[in-house]
């Protein structure tokens, strides 16, 4: 044998192959290959190697790489070899580069020139070699370099070249559809090529084109039908026959195209009926390829406008497939059945036995295909059996890819068809328990939303039942070790929202469980965050209900631990919890309304709720707010002035410009002096963030363009007049920023966040007034009852949090220390334009965090979780699922009463529940039948003998 390998190969190479063949272990093989790599490296770097030696080394490189080792050190030699004149070497070079390089490799640019040259070669074999390389290596960037030549080759006299040129264009189309869109007429022309091979090759690009745009190819239906007819009538050369079938590969390709063209088009479909019927009748169902054509016919028949006769013969073929002995045919039969039941659902009935057989089969592939079919057949009557089966199978496999898929299918089916709350919750528990880390977080958020929104808007009892059963089962599960993080998040959220809702469990019981969970998963920050928030909710519900809250010692220690957490998010949640617990019932009720997670929370981006306050401040003599673009424009004063004189229309701007004349308001100069260097630094940056997202960086030197900016920027004037009040924007922006921050970092933030938001809205209105009227603030924010010093400290915390976020972002840690001052002094701050001038570095660094971007980010995740703070965006999605659910719940409810789970599959399959008792009996009966030997035992036992030959 090895003598055949003597084609120019040295003994050395043959020895290498032999020794690798004889290697007893993977380690030994690796050793040999590594030694070979060293040899090759040394040989390739030596200056004088002959070309024929080099050719052999390339072959050895290919071999090394085939064995899974890196041969990239030799790629350049392969590239060089493609430049060689001799076809012998050129071919080897092309073979090596097509095997070594992917289309995005850097070296490809070095080959393009050679390819261009070779495409022009007189020798058609050289052209063929180049075209092979073109198909593999030319990427989007290099297509234009060879495209004209490839198009020219469509008219080459050798059919092999034409064929490869067509395929190369097909490849280009896949890479960059735009590059060949003007060449569609060429494909149409090639369809009439004299050579059947070229015609067949043309079907590939046409199939892709038709997939994308059916309508512009409807005129070809007649041609395709004619070609198919000719092929089926054996008009092609005999050499195209394969296992006595006339050109089956071409037939299959044509059938694929016809099924696209006939889809939903009665007129086109009618032209195909005759030929489809002919092929199905003539097809040799004893050979593999015959069945391949038959299967393709079924696909086509199911796709085009239905024809009863054809559907009938399709059904016959399917039952032949299913009854056959070969697993391959069963697999295809199941697949085809899935197609056919979409058109005639009743056909499933006669194949129920076969389907169950396949489901029980030890062959994994067949089983999965059957699950595909069941998934398509699921209805509210059989959902329980199917999903239970799916879950059992899901638990039994290790393949992550498929596990993920089947888990999300289970969730989907359960959501659509759930017959009862109980069942739904249990199913979800199972799915999450076993595949919780694999399913998309969206699925978890969906589950939370379903539990929160319930089945329908009217049926409140059903909703609370759903929640109670969820709470009950979660309390049972929460203690189990090794729960997936996603599942724990759901559990914590649900327990926080509804744990105490039905009064069945005491707050201390649930908080205890939550603390245990947080402790058991101390490394998972997200779970801890969910747990703390849940604790906060439960405590605030308790307070709101007028009960006294006794924090369990473990809760206390948890909160204390989190107050010092490295995660700012956890810290913040802990502080919020601490703060809320100290409030009175009325305030808490407003902050944490019971069961309000479905309420929409509107975000007023214009901050119009501040209008009254701003107006008031203005009347009291505060400085009006100046939008940032104008402020940056102030940097060059003289320039600005002359501007103003030229265009006096901008009266507002003119007013704003007067500001610098009073840099320090005379009102409270004494306080200012202490705070000015610390406090205001980050604040203008926030102002910039919120009100001027478009300005990415405001630079002092930018004065030249400032006039442009002023005209072009259509920034809304927030408060009627371009007013600047340093306090108002700073606090409000700080708050917005804070909540943005939390949300973007944790997509899945719960509704607490939005409630916190509410609080901050309240406080925002009032905080600025601290400076002038502390008493007023205290009274309106916390009610008259509580003591004022506590209020004061709370406010301080609030602000310090705000600022510490700011510090995170702008790296100004010292700001936090003066946070208390920030709340007290701000009114007397100097206008920010001065600051902009004074601290350009700070101002320009801050805008890199664009709060509007964050806001957008905040709007998106709301769809995932619950309503959250966005309102508008999250809503439109919800009704779909809810309405779906509402539909199901009706039918689902009725089944709950009867509750006949094992029956369900049968019920559906047989259409008449009374016919069969249940699946088990059915299977037993089937087994008996088999023992007796009545079952059809393979009509073609020798069908695939050649497979193994």
């Amino acid at each position: 044998m090895s003598s055949q390998g003597g084609f120019g190969q040295s003994k050395e190479f043959l020895d290498l192959i032999k020794s690798i063949g004889e290697a007893r272990s993977k380690a030994e093989e690796d050793r040999i290959v590594l030694r070979e790599i060293d040899t090759l490296k040394a040989r390739l770097s030596s200056p004088n190697i002959t070309k024929f030696k080099l050719k052999e080394y390339l072959m050895r490189l290919i071999y090394v790489e085939m064995l899974g080792h890196d041969a990239s050190f030799g790629y350049i030699h392969a590239v060089k070899m493609t430049h060689d004149e001799s076809l012998l070497l050129k071919r080897t070079g092309y073979l090596a580069v097509t095997l070594f390089l992917n289309e995005d490799h850097d070296l490809i640019i070095l080959i393009v020139n050679t390819i261009q040259k070779d495409l022009r070669s007189d020798n058609y074999l050289v052209v063929c070699a180049a075209l092979n390389a073109v198909c593999r290596l030319i990427n989007e960037e290099t297509i234009p370099a060879v495209l004209p030549q490839v198009v020219e080759l469509l008219g080459h006299q050798k059919e092999a070249v034409r064929k490869k040129a067509v395929m190369a264009l097909h490849r280009f189309y896949q890479r960059a559809p735009g590059s060949v869109s003007h060449l569609i007429s060429n494909f149409r022309k090639r369809l009439c090529d004299n050579d059947p091979g070229v015609m067949a090759a043309t079907l590939c690009p046409l199939f892709d084109l038709i997939t994308i745009d059916v309508n512009s190819f409807k005129d070809l239906v007649v041609s395709f039908v004619n070609i198919l007819k000719q092929v089926a009538e054996r008009r092609l050369p005999k050499s195209y026959d394969y296992h006595q079938m006339p050109a089956p590969f071409i037939q299959i390709k044509l059938l694929k195209i016809l099924s696209l063209l006939g889809n939903g088009d009665k007129k086109s479909s009618e032209q195909m009926y005759t030929i489809l019927g002919d092929i199905m009748r003539k097809c040799d169902s004893a050979s593999n390829i015959g069945n391949a054509v038959l299967y393709e016919c079924i696909c086509c028949v199911c796709s085009i406008h239905p024809n009863p006769k054809l559907l009938e013969s399709a059904a016959d073929t399917i039952s032949k497939f299913l009854k056959g002995d070969s697993h391959n045919l069963k697999y295809l039969g199941i697949d085809a059945l899935g197609l056919l039941i979409r058109i005639s659902p009743e056909i499933a009935e006669q194949h129920q036995l076969a389907v169950i057989d396949c489901l029980e089969d030890p062959d994994d592939t067949l089983k999965r295909k059957t699950f595909d079919l069941l998934y398509k057949m699921t209805k509210s009557s059989n959902v329980e059996v199917i999903v239970d089966r799916m879950i059992d199978y899901m638990i039994s496999i290790n393949d992550h890819h498929y596990k993920t898929e089947i888990a999300s299918r289970c969730v989907e089916l359960a959501e659509q068809f759930a017959p009862s709350n109980q069942w739904f919750i249990q199913t979800m528990n199972k799915v999450f328990e076993h595949a919780g880390d694999l399913v998309n977080t969206k699925v978890a958020h969906n589950l939370m939303r379903l539990i929160a929104e319930g089945f329908g808007e009217d049926d409140n009892t059903a909703d609370s039942q759903l929640r109670s059963s969820a709470v009950e089962s979660y309390l049972r599960i929460i203690g189990e070790p090794k729960l997936p993080s996603t599942f724990l998040q759901v559990i914590c959220w649900v327990l926080g929202e509804y744990g105490t809702a039905d009064g069945k469990y005491s707050a201390s019981y649930i908080t205890g469980k939550l603390c245990d969970a947080a402790e058991a998963h101390s490394t998972d920050d997200t779970v801890k965050a969910y747990a703390v928030t849940a604790l906060m909710k439960i405590y605030s519900f308790e307070i709101a209900a007028g009960r006294k809250v006794d924090m369990l010692p473990e809760c206390q220690s948890l909160v204390e631990e989190l107050l010092a957490s490295h995660s700012t998010d956890l810290q913040q949640r802990a502080y919020e919890l601490q703060a809320i617990i100290c409030l009175d019932a009325h305030a808490v009720e407003n902050i944490m309304p019971m069961d309000a997670n479905c309420e929409d929370i509107e975000i007023d981006k214009n901050l119009s709720f501040l209008d009254a306050y701003v107006q008031e401040s203005l009347e009291k003599g505060a400085q009006p707010y100046i939008p940032e673009d104008e402020r940056s424009g102030l940097s060059n004063i003289s320039n600005f002035r002359s501007q103003d004189h030229e265009s006096s229309i901008h009266a507002l701007r003119f007013e704003a410009y007067e500001l610098p004349k009073f840099p320090v308001p005379p009102k409270a100069p004494s306080i200012l002096s202490s705070s000015v260097e610390l406090v205001p630094v980050p604040e203008p940056s926030y102002v910039a963030d919120v009100h001027q997202p478009a300005t990415s960086a405001l630079t002092v030197s930018n004065s030249g363009s400032s006039e442009l900016k002023l005209r072009l920027d259509g920034v809304q004037k927030k408060w009627g007049r371009p007013a600047f009040s340093s306090t108002t924007p700073s606090t409000s922006s700080g708050d917005t920023f804070e909540s943005n921050n939390g949300t973007t970092r944790h997509e899945s933030i719960s509704s607490t966040k939005s409630k916190v938001h509410d609080v901050s809205y309240d406080s925002r209105k009032l905080q600025p007034e601290i400076s002038t009227e502390k008493q007023k603030l205290a009274a309106s924010l916390f009610g008259g009852a509580s003591k004022s010093d506590r209020k004061q400290s709370y406010t301080g915390q609030k602000v310090s949090k705000t600022n510490s976020h700011g510090a995170d972002k702008s790296n100004l840690a010292k700001v936090a220390s003066s946070s208390d001052n920030a709340a007290v002094i701000p009114t007397s701050q100097p206008p920010p334009d001065l600051l902009d001038l004074g601290e350009p570095s700070v101002t320009s660094s801050a805008p890199s965090v664009d709060p509007f971007k964050q806001l957008e980010g905040l709007l998106d995740p709301t769809q995932d979780t619950t309503k959250l703070s966005s309102g508008g965006v999250g809503v439109p999605n919800a009704p779909d699922i809810m309405s779906l659910y509402a539909d199901m719940s009706l039918s689902g409810q009725s089944t709950t009463v009867a509750n006949p789970p094992p029956n369900a599959i049968k019920t559906h399959l047989a259409k008449q529940p009374s016919k069969g008792p249940n699946v088990q009996e059915f299977l037993e009966k089937d087994a008996l039948v088999r023992q007796v030997g009545v079952t059809p035992s393979g009509q073609n036992p020798n069908l695939f003998k050649d497979l193994l030959g």
Partner: protein, 161 residues
């Protein structure tokens, strides 16, 4: 579309690997390991298809050699089985009673043949005779090139002597 063609021996050794979709060297080894494990362990009576990462891998065993092709979900598995067979028949005709050793020592020839059957992941020619004619033409050309080269080197040798 065919994403890759693999020839794996019963011992899990790769005899030929052709990738029509981009895979890095690392991914390639991973794919081979994964698929080798699944396919070699399947019983003879089971289907010759494996669902894998959203694709389907169709395989067929000839003696101790497994021919595998990875195809899209919507492709026809039986057709792919016959594409494999088509390839094997042509190999058989070319080598004359092809066996694993032929492919081990002449893997480059197998690559050249495969290049005439599949291109860009699609079947380019189903006519055996056309393919044979092309491959013969190439071999002939290579032979002449080789002879010429020998002649030249002989001449050079004579001239220098």
């Amino acid at each position: 579309m065919i994403h890759f063609v693999l020839l794996i021996s019963q011992q899990g050794k790769v005899r030929l690997a052709k990738w029509y979709s981009p895979y890095s060297q690392k991914e390639r080894s991973k794919v081979i390991r994964e698929l080798g494990g699944t396919i070699l362990s399947r019983g003879p009576k089971l289907c010759k298809f494996v669902e894998w990462r959203g694709y389907k891998v169709v395989y067929r065993r000839y003696a101790g050699l497994y021919f595998c092709m990875c195809i899209n979900h919507e492709d026809n598995e039986l057709e792919t089985l016959d594409i494999i067979h088509h390839f094997v028949v042509i190999l058989d005709r070319y080598f004359g009673n092809v066996c694993e050793l032929d492919l081990i020592f002449n893997f480059h020839k197998a690559y050249y043949i495969l290049d005439e059957i599949l291109i860009a992941g699609e079947l380019q020619e189903s006519n055996k005779k056309t393919i044979e004619r092309l491959i013969d033409a190439q071999d002939l050309l290579v032979e002449t090139a080789k002879e010429e080269a020998n002649l030249i080197s002989k001449l050079i040798a004579q001239a220098t002597n």
